[in-house]
């Protein structure tokens, strides 16, 4: 459940998709993912850690993400996530499905 934020709430499935896409570029830690999404969506999508971390752990449990501890720029070690092979495949499928879905919604709205 997202705490009501100043930006739009995200449905769980969509969040998973965004995370996978973000991680696909390069290994990245949780804070970095939230920042990246915020930036790329022009500050519209703000992911709360209350939904982010459970999602990350869930994706990891499902075998779509893998993690390792690395030195981050400054301060404490951070857990970096990267995409697994099945994660990559899943990303493709989810992306295709999302495009189909959003296209359909657009069609209905514009009719």
């Amino acid at each position: 459940m997202n705490m009501p934020g100043k930006k739009t709430d995200l449905i769980q499935g969509t969040l998973d998709l965004l995370i996978l896409k973000t991680v696909a570029h390069e290994p990245i830690h949780g804070y970095g993912i939230a920042q990246r999404i915020l930036l790329t969506s022009k500050e519209i999508l703000q992911v709360q850690q209350g939904s982010l971390y459970p999602a990350l752990h869930r994706l990891q449990r499902k075998g779509l993400l893998t993690s390792e501890w690395r030195e981050s720029g400054s301060g404490p070690m951070a857990k970096f996530y990267s995409l697994t092979a099945s994660g990559r495949k899943d990303l493709q499928e989810e992306k295709a499905q999302w495009q189909r879905y959003s296209g359909a919604v657009a069609l209905v709205l514009e009719s």
Binding site: P54, H57, G75
Partner: protein, 873 residues
Amino acid sequence: MRFPWNGMETDLKRELAHHLHELTAEYERRGHSREEAVRMAKREFGGSEQVKERCRDEWRWAWMTGIRQDVTFAFRQMRRSPGFAVTAVITLALGIAANVIVFGVLQAMILQPIDVPHGDRVMTLSLTASAFPFIAYPEVRDVRDGATLLSAVAAFSFENLGLETGGVTRPVWGYGVSGQYFELAAIKPFLGRLLERADDDHPGASEAAVLSWPAWKSYFGADPNIVGKTVRINKHPYTIVGVTPEGFYGTEKILLPSIFVPMANEASLGGGDWLEQRQVKNAFSIVRIKDGVTLPQARAELNTIAARIRRQYPAEEEGLGFKLSRPGLVGDTIGGPARAFLAGVMGLAGIVLLAACANLGSLFAARTADRAREIAIRMAIGSSRWRILRQTLVEALVISIAGGVCAFGLSWISLTGLATWHPPFDYPIRFSVLPQPSLILVVLLISVFAGVLCGVTPLRQIFNTDPNDAMKSGGTKHFGGRRWALRDVLLAAQIALCCVTVTAAFVSLRGLGKALTMDLGFKPQNAILTKFDLGQAGYSSEAAGQFQRQLLERVSRLPGVKAAGYANTVPLGGGDFSSTNVFSRQTADFRASNRAFASYLFDVSPGYFAAAGTPLLAGRDVSFADTAKSPAVAVVNREFARRLFHSGGAVGSYFKNRSGLPIRIVGIVADGKYLSISEDPKPAAFYPISQDAITLTTLIVRPWGDAADMAATLRKVVRDLDSSIPIRESSVWNSELAMSFFPTQVATVALGLFGAFGLLLSIAGAFGLASYTVSQRLRELSIRVALGAQAKEILSAALGRMLILLGSGSVVGMVLGVAAGRLLSAIVYQASAQDPFVLASVAFTMVLTGSLSVAGPVRRALHIDPARLLREQ
């Protein structure tokens, strides 16, 4: 300890710490001071606990961590309210123990094979013609010689022997065993050797005897040099050649022999010379089926042997058939009723457990209502309802497993105690119900079942909790005018169930009381029976008649004899007697279908009725003047007269026997029990033995003093008259009957125990709920007191609902109990739940226990100090 989840915990902490660190850094970059940045980052980050919780839920091990947490929480809860915990554990322990004990008995007596090597291949051999497993020794011999599929065939008989050692003679129970008996049992002797085929070759072949381990311990003080010691059995010298191993109790589960002697010596031991008699069915037989042979194959072979015997001895063995059955419970004689009884008792045990679960369930529901506030808070910070329910379940399971552990201990002790207990009378009965380790599994299963049952009772409550509501109302619920909650229903259900067990207990008590004080039609106390068959000593009927009169004269002249008489057999004697068709005087055609009724038939001597203690109600006793030459007469019982003439005045009237002979009724005696104690009143006719001479004799002697000493004297008198007469039995009448009462006594004890359990549970449940109710409403009650309410109003406010529940529960329970009365009468003779005594007792008991259980809370309610209480609250 480094569990997988420990590492994950640390990782999670570090991961979130890193996020926080980055956030702080971001705020610092935006120009805030260090402290401000930290503060703002923390605020933005929000509750890390909640995040962690969500992450944990995602883990593969999530459920295990959760369970571990729940268990710890459960223990903490128990420590916080020890009273509740102890009550709950004890309640469950009692309920579970009841079921486990019954199951233990069931397993030991019925499910397990007897305790010899490969016990499942040992079967009892008996005749299809009779319900009791008695068989004639020559028939066993025929099977032994003819069967190829049986590896051992043995016979044994159950004897009362006089064992004399060191100058002291004790009556002991022993087995006379045939040669293959110990071969069949396949056991190794503890000391010395066991009896072999050579010992049983012919009468007098051996003077060897084998002691059972318990007898060796108690009568011979576990003498290590017992082998070779001489003793006297029924005045004959015997040598002890061995001791059976500890734990061997013969081949029946409930009989406990002390000594084993060769069966061939039956006659010399005074047991009667029936070894060669095909018609005397005095032996038991067991067989061992060869490995690899199936039961149908063995049965088929036995049928062939039976057919052959029928051909060889068409007169004596007409209709012969063999059957095999599970050994251990005297064939099927006790097996059938025992199974029915145990099934009934298991049902009761289940009821007790259900009641205990209802009790606990209502307590759990009450506690959950208490913790409504806590639950609401937990749900508000993100716990799912399922999570809370799981915690309640775990708490219930923890308590029920603790109860199960206690129950296991309780059952172990009870079963062991039962196994070592001996019934108070002379028969060496024991219950081989030593507990097995598999009992642990049973206990576990039942505990888990009980725990789940209790744990899900707050289900609806939890799922209906609205966090907002619960927090606003401060956690206390309103009671006035509310619908009946689940916990109320549970209490009523529990009271009803307990009432059923209490009713059952009272019904059986009443039944036992009636059975024990029942008028048998004779007085077996202090009378001695001496049984023998003169035909076995070569007497004809007339010669027998003369011998019997002579014997009676001798015995009557003995000092200390109050009354003496004889008959062919006595009532409740196991059925040597016959029944015959009775026709009214007017009948001309004596077909069986024209009969008025069937009546039991006895041949009695003058003085029989006095000796047996049967009151003569009208007319006269039979006399020696009634001979074959004088008119045929008979004495009948009142039921006979009633059925024939529909009135009492039958003396002087006639009936006809099945040959058409008119017989005059000269006397009427009281009714009694003849075949079994549970039969309806039956007609019986007593012919003068001088008109219907018979060699089978039972001498009844009633002394002035104690009967015990007379038995030996009587035997001597018979011997003096003719030493060749084999005396079948000579003992006090009452002890022979005691065995027929035993099942009823057992049933009563068991049902009584369950009734007691049920009562305890009701008290616990009612007390628990009453206390809870009062404590919940203390605030409201104290306000009432402050406003001037009287004691009566306080009580009705506090406990009114509860008393309604108790009352209705009891009524429902009694109705159910009455309905179940028919079921009970199958177990306990003469049990009728509609007996006003029973109903009154049950009502009284329930009221009493109800009052006792609410007494404490009532006192508390009445002594409320409103000022103090309101201040505290």
